[in-house]
C-alpha cells in the first residue's frame, strides 16, 4: 500500500548539502507492522516524515495507498494526512494549553467530525489506552508514560490507515514502553499499518519486519513473523 521507488531526499543549506535518503525503494503492505532501525543520522526520521507526508522527496516516486504523492501540493498532502495518518512522537508533542481530552480531540477537529461523535470517539480512545480518568488533566500533570498513551490515543482516534511512530518508547521506562508497544500491536492487529522508528531491539522484535538504514540507504530487511 505504501511504495517508495528510488526516493532521494537532499537537504540543502547555503554551504552544506546533506543526502538524507539515497534512492530508497521499499513496499509496506496494509496492516503490516514495520520497525525502522539505524544509527543516529541514518535517515530514519526523514523516511518517517516522507512516509507521513510531512516532507516531500527530492526525487523518486511515492505511492500512498495507490496515489502518487511525490509531487502533490501542501494542500493535497494536508487532506491525505488528515484522512489517513496518525502520528506518535518520541517527545509526545502534546499541546500544553489543552486538556488530555482536547488534545485527542484535535485529531478529529480538522476532519469536521460532529461534536457529539467527537466526544464519543475521544472517550473510547482514552478508555482504549487506559487514561480516561485523566481526561480533564493537562499534559504537564501526567507522567511520561501517561502522556505517550494520550499521544497514542490521539493517533488512534481518527481511525487512520497508517500510524507513524517516531521512537514512541524512547522517553519511557520499560513498563510504560511495553504498554505503548502493546497498544501499537493491537492497532496493527486491527488492520492499521504501523511504521515505527526505534532504537530498541526488543521493541523492533514486536514488529513483523525490521528495516535497517545506514547513510540514507536500506542495508537490510528482516522478516520476523508472518
Amino acid at each position: 500500500m505504501l511504495r517508495l521507488d528510488k526516493v532521494t531526499k537532499v537537504y540543502r543549506t547555503a554551504e552544506v548539502e546533506t543526502l538524507a535518503l539515497n534512492e530508497i525503494s521499499l513496499e509496506i503492505g496494509a496492516g503490516e507492522f514495520v520497525a525502522i532501525m539505524g544509527p543516529s543520522g541514518c535517515g530514519k526520521s526523514t523516511l518517517l516524515n516522507t512516509l507521513g507526508l510531512l516532507d516531500t522527496p527530492t526525487s523518486g516516486a511515492y505511492s500512498f495507498f495507490g496515489e502518487d504523492v511525490a509531487r502533490r501540493s501542501e494542500r493535497e498532502l494536508t487532506v491525505l494526512r488528515r484522512d489517513r495518518i496518525g502520528f506518535v512522537f518520541q517527545s509526545f508533542n502534546l499541546i500544553d494549553d489543552l486538556t488530555v481530552a482536547e488534545n485527542v480531540e484535535v485529531a478529529l477537529l480538522y476532519r469536521k467530525v460532529p461534536s457529539a461523535e467527537r466526544r464519543r470517539r475521544v472517550t473510547e480512545a482514552l478508555e482504549r489506552v487506559g487514561i480516561a480518568h485523566r481526561a480533564r488533566h493537562r499534559p504537564q500533570q501526567l507522567s511520561g508514560g501517561q502522556q505517550q498513551r494520550v499521544a497514542v490515543a490521539r493517533a488512534l482516534v481518527s481511525e487512520p490507515s497508517l500510524i507513524l511512530a517516531d521512537e514512541p518508547t524512547g522517553n519511557l521506562d520499560t513498563a510504560n514502553g511495553e504498554a505503548v508497544m502493546a497498544l501499537l500491536t493491537d492497532a496493527a492487529a486491527a488492520g492499521v499499518t504501523v511504521v515505527m522508528v526505534t532504537h530498541s531491539l526488543s521493541h523492533a522484535a514486536v514488529a513483523q519486519r525490521t528495516i535497517k538504514l545506514l547513510d540514507g540507504r536500506v542495508v537490510s530487511e528482516t522478516l520476523l513473523a508472518a
Partner: protein, 823 residues
C-alpha cells in the same frame, strides 16, 4: 473547532500572563486614547450641525487687504449689512445680526447680580435663522418686542430658580427686560457663545449704537438664511456688485486716501465657522484643521505602537507555539485553519482590550471634558455610528496586527519543529521585529520633540514675544476707568503703580486712523492710554520719553483746542518713513483727535486732522496673539469719560503683598464700584485665553507622547525579557569563554540601542519638518533648537536602556553553569 481554538487561546493567554497582560494593557491604553481623540475630533468636526437646516445658514465674511498691510480676514461686519442684504436679495429668507454687549453687561434680579460675558444683542429674526431647541416660548418670534430677552435653561435657573420663567423681569445694565423664551443650553460644539440673547431693538442695545456707525465699523456678526434651492456660489458672485453698490461709497467717503488691494464679501457656511476661523470677529477661538489632522494622526500612531507590541511579542514567542503548530499540521490542519486560529487569538486580545478601553475612556472622559472645556458625550450604546466606528477600528487592528503573526506561525514546517529543530522564518522575524521597534521609537521621539517645541513656543508667546512684563499685573475692568478710581487704587498698600488704558491698548478690539507724516499717509491703530501705562508693563522707550503728567501738552483731557502729543511703536515709526526711532522723535504728524471718543458716537463725524509732536517711540508690544503681526500703532493720553477711551485699570503689584493687595482692591471696589460686579484678572492669565488652544494642543501631544512612550516601553520590556531569556545559553557560553558581566551587559544593551539609533535617523528629520510647518503659523516664533534634537535622541536611548536594563543586568550576572544547564 472554535471551542478548541478558544480554549487554546485563553489558556495560552493565562499561562503567559506577563506578555498577554502587557499586550492587552498596551492595546487597552491605546484604544482608550484613540476613543477619546476620536470623540474630540468628531466634536470639533460637527460644529453647529445640530441646527436644523444648517446647510442654508451662512455668516458674512470679509477679506480686506489694504495697500502695504497684511490681509485681514474677518467674520465681523457692518451694522447696515443685514438690512441692505435683505433689501437687495429676495433669495435671502432671513438676515439678522448679533453683537456682544461691549463691556460685559451687568444683569440683576433681586439680590442676584452678575457680570455676564456671554451676553449678546440680536435682531428679532436671529432664532429663525438659528432655530435652536426651545424649552419655553417661541424663540423665533420672542425678540420682536424691544424689552424681550431669551435665556438658556441654566441661566433661567440661575436667576429665577426654574426652567421657564416666561414674563419674568431682569435688569440689564439697569434697564428692565422681560423673559420671552427659554432655549436649551447650547452644546459646546457650536460657534455661538451665549447665555442671554436680548432684543436688538432695545434702546440700550449695542446694535442700536452700531446702527449709527453704518458701514464705518465692523463690530457685529451678520447671519443669513437662504431660501430653499438658492445657490450659495451664485449669491457669492452677486455679492461683488453689492459691495460696490452699498459698501464702497460709504467707505471711500470716510477714508479717501486709503488704497485697497483686495476686498471680498462672501457667505461662510455655518458649519465652516469653527474650522475656518477668521482673524477677528468669531465669538469662540476656531480650530486649526491641520492641528486636528495632526491629533488624528497621533491617535492612529498610538494604536500602531500598541499593535506593534502585539506583533513583536507574538512573533518573538512563536517558537513556543511551534510544537502546537507542528502537531496540528501533522494531524491535518491546513495553513488556512491555523491562520484562522491565530487570527482568532488576535481577536481575543483585541476584544479584551476593547472592553478595558471603554472602561478607561468612561473614567477619563470627565477629566478630558474639563481640560478641553467641552461637553463631549460617550454614549456608545445609543450612538450606532460611534459603536460601529469603535468595533470597526478594533476589527481592523485585530486583522492588521494578527495577520503577520498568523502567517509566521502557520508557516512552520511540522517535520522540523516536532523534532525540536529550528523554527522556520526566524531570521526574517527578527528583522521584522527590529523594523517594528525602530518604528515605535521613531514615533515616540517625534512626539517628544513636538511636545518640547509646542511648550517652548507657548512659553515664548506668553513671556517674551509680547515684549511686556506682565508678571504681577492685575487688570481691573471699570466702565469707565477714571482718575478717581486709579488714584484710590494707587493708595492701596502693595500697589506699585496703576494706570488706565483703552480697550485697544490691551488688544480688546482695535480702531484705526489715517495718519500723515511728510506727505506719507498710513493707516495706524490707535490706543488712548494713561500716564504711567508703559511703566506698569515695563515698556521702555527706544527713543524720546513717555507721557508725563506734569507736561500739559501730553494730557489730551485738558487741552481745549489742540491735540495732545503722540508716541509711536517701532512699526508705526517705520511705516511713516522714519529711518530710526530717534529720527521720529520731535517730528510732527497729522492725525484725527476725537475728543469725545465714545461707544455712543461710533461712526460719527471725524474731526479735521491736527498736527502733534512725536515725543517717543516704544518697541512693538502686544496683548494679542503672536499668530498675527503686531499692528503699527500710536498712543496718546485722552479723556477718561467713556469705556472706549478708558476701560482697564492696569495695576502693578508688589509680589510680596499680592494676596493682601488683591483683597484690599476688592474691598475698595465694593465701596466705589457703584454696585457693579468686580471684574479683575491677572494679566498673564488674561493672555492665556489667546493661547488656551496652544496649551491644550501642547498638553494633548504631551499626554499622547507619554502614552506612546509607556506602550512602547511595555513592549520593549517584554521583548527584552524574552530575548535575554532566549540568549541565556549563548550568554553562558560567552561567560564560560571569559566574558565579564560588563561585557554581557554591554552586548545586551547594544542590541536594544541599535533600533533606537535608527529611529533617531528617521524621526529627527520628520520632527524638524513637522515643527517648522507648525511654527510658520505664528508671526513671531521660536526656532527649532538643535539642543532639543540632541536631547530627544539621548532621551530615546535612555528610555530604551532604562526599560531593558533590569533584564540585561540579571542575565549578565547569572552564573555560567546555570545558563549552560538551561534548555
Amino acid at each position: 473547532m472554535f471551542g478548541n481554538y478558544l480554549a487554546a487561546s485563553l489558556r495560552n493567554l493565562a499561562r503567559n500572563r506577563l506578555y498577554a497582560g502587557i499586550t492587552i494593557a498596551g492595546l487597552a491604553i491605546a484604544f482608550s486614547s484613540a476613543m477619546l481623540i476620536g470623540l474630540y475630533l468628531r466634536h470639533e468636526l460637527t460644529y453647529d450641525r445640530f441646527i436644523p437646516g444648517h446647510e442654508r445658514v451662512f455668516l458674512l465674511n470679509q477679506k480686506i487687504k489694504p495697500e502695504n498691510k497684511p490681509l485681514v480676514d474677518m467674520d465681523d461686519s457692518s451694522a447696515n449689512l443685514a438690512a441692505d442684504l435683505k433689501l437687495d436679495f429676495p433669495q435671502i429668507e432671513y438676515a439678522a445680526r448679533m453683537a456682544p454687549s461691549g463691556f460685559p453687561a451687568t444683569v440683576r434680579r433681586g439680590s442676584v447680580s452678575n457680570s455676564e460675558r456671554n451676553f449678546a444683542w440680536v435682531d428679532p429674526d436671529f432664532f429663525k435663522i438659528l432655530p435652536v431647541p426651545t424649552v419655553a416660548g417661541d424663540a423665533g418670534t420672542a425678540l420682536e418686542a424691544p424689552d424681550a430677552i431669551v435665556l438658556t435653561r441654566s441661566t433661567a435657573r440661575r436667576y429665577f430658580g426654574k426652567d421657564a420663567p416666561l414674563g419674568g423681569q431682569l435688569l440689564v445694565d439697569g434697564n428692565p427686560m422681560r423673559v420671552a423664551a427659554v432655549i436649551e443650553d447650547l452644546p459646546t460644539n457650536t460657534h455661538l457663545v451665549g447665555d442671554l440673547f436680548a432684543s436688538g431693538r432695545a434702546p440700550a442695545s449695542m446694535l442700536r449704537k452700531l446702527d449709527a456707525a453704518g458701514y464705518s465699523a465692523n463690530s457685529n456678526l451678520t447671519y443669513v438664511r437662504l431660501k430653499a434651492g438658492v445657490s450659495a456660489s451664485a449669491m457669492n458672485a452677486a455679492l461683488r456688485g453689492f459691495a460696490e453698490r452699498r459698501i464702497w461709497p460709504a467707505h471711500r467717503l470716510q477714508n479717501p486716501n486709503e488704497k485697497i488691494d483686495l476686498y471680498e464679501l462672501r457667505l461662510k457656511p455655518l458649519t465652516s465657522i469653527h474650522l475656518q476661523p477668521a482673524d477677528g470677529g468669531d465669538p469662540k477661538p476656531g480650530a486649526d484643521v491641520k492641528v486636528l489632522a495632526g491629533i488624528g494622526v497621533i491617535g492612529v500612531l498610538i494604536v500602531v505602537v500598541a499593535a506593534i507590541n502585539f506583533v513583536t511579542l507574538m512573533t518573538a514567542r512563536a517558537a513556543r507555539r511551534a510544537v502546537e503548530v507542528g502537531v496540528r499540521k501533522a494531524l491535518g490542519a491546513g495553513r488556512g485553519d491555523l491562520i484562522v486560529q491565530f487570527m482568532g487569538e488576535a481577536f481575543v486580545y483585541v476584544a479584551v482590550a476593547l472592553v478595558l478601553a471603554v472602561a478607561i475612556a468612561e473614567l477619563l472622559l470627565p477629566a478630558v471634558n474639563a481640560a478641553l472645556q467641552r461637553k463631549i458625550a460617550f454614549s456608545y450604546l445609543t450612538d450606532p455610528p460611534l459603536l460601529i466606528a469603535m468595533l470597526g477600528a478594533a476589527l481592523a487592528t485585530a486583522l492588521l496586527a494578527g495577520l503577520y503573526p498568523a502567517l509566521v506561525l502557520s508557516s512552520f514546517r511540522p517535520a522540523s519543529v516536532l523534532k525540536g529543530g529550528p523554527v522556520a522564518s526566524g531570521g526574517g522575524g527578527i528583522v521584522v521585529r527590529q523594523v517594528l521597534v525602530v518604528a515605535q521609537f521613531a514615533v515616540l521621539i517625534t512626539l517628544v520633540l513636538s511636545t518640547v517645541t509646542i511648550f517652548r513656543q507657548t512659553a515664548f508667546a506668553l513671556r517674551d514675544a509680547t515684549h511686556t512684563d506682565k508678571a504681577g499685573v492685575l487688570i481691573l475692568f471699570a466702565a469707565p476707568c477714571t482718575d478717581t478710581l486709579r488714584d484710590a487704587v494707587r493708595a492701596v498698600p502693595g500697589v506699585r503703580a496703576a494706570a488706565c488704558s483703552s480697550p485697544m491698548a490691551v488688544n480688546l478690539g482695535n480702531s484705526q486712523d489715517m495718519v500723515e507724516a511728510a506727505g506719507r499717509h498710513v493707516l495706524l491703530n490707535y490706543a488712548p492710554v494713561d500716564f504711567g501705562f508703559f511703566d506698569v508693563y515695563g515698556v521702555r522707550p527706544l527713543a524720546g520719553r513717555v507721557f508725563q503728567s506734569d507736561r500739559p501738552g501730553d494730557d489730551g483731557a485738558k487741552l481745549a483746542n489742540t491735540s495732545p502729543t503722540l508716541m509711536l511703536n517701532e512699526s508705526a515709526a517705520r511705516m511713516l518713513g522714519f529711518k530710526s526711532p530717534q529720527a521720529a522723535v520731535g517730528h510732527l504728524v497729522s492725525w484725527h483727535f476725537i475728543r469725545g471718543l465714545s461707544m455712543t458716537n461710533l461712526g460719527g463725524t471725524i474731526p479735521p486732522p491736527q498736527k502733534s509732536e512725536v515725543i517717543g517711540v516704544v518697541p512693538d508690544f502686544t496683548f494679542g496673539s503672536v499668530r498675527q503681526p503686531i499692528n503699527p500703532s500710536y498712543y496718546y493720553v485722552g479723556p477718561k469719560d467713556d469705556v472706549l477711551g478708558s476701560v482697564a485699570l492696569n495695576i502693578k503689584l508688589n509680589p510680596e503683598h499680592t494676596t493682601q493687595a488683591v483683597s484690599d482692591i476688592g474691598r475698595l471696589w465694593a465701596k466705589i464700584g457703584r454696585g457693579m460686579p468686580l471684574q479683575q484678572y491677572f494679566a498673564d492669565q488674561f493672555m492665556l485665553r489667546l493661547y488656551i488652544d496652544n496649551i491644550i494642543q501642547g498638553g494633548f501631544v504631551a499626554i499622547c507622547a507619554v502614552i506612546a512612550i509607556s506602550i512602547a516601553c511595555l513592549g520593549l520590556f517584554a521583548l527584552s525579557a524574552y530575548t535575554t531569556e532566549r540568549r541565556t545559553k549563548e550568554i553562558g557560553i560567552r561567560k564560560a569563554m571569559g566574558a565579564s558581566s560588563q561585557d554581557i551587559l554591554r552586548l545586551l544593551l547594544w542590541q536594544f540601542t541599535q533600533p533606537v539609533l535608527w529611529a533617531n535617523v528617521l524621526a529627527l528629520p520628520a520632527a524638524w519638518l513637522v515643527m517648522n510647518w507648525w511654527l510658520k503659523g505664528f508671526a513671531y516664533h521660536v526656532s527649532v533648537a538643535p539642543w532639543t534634537f540632541a536631547a530627544a535622541a539621548v532621551a530615546g536611548v535612555l528610555i530604551a536602556w532604562g526599560t531593558v536594563f533590569v533584564h540585561a543586568l540579571r542575565v549578565s550576572r547569572a552564573r555560567p553553569v546555570g545558563a549552560l544547564r538551561y534548555e
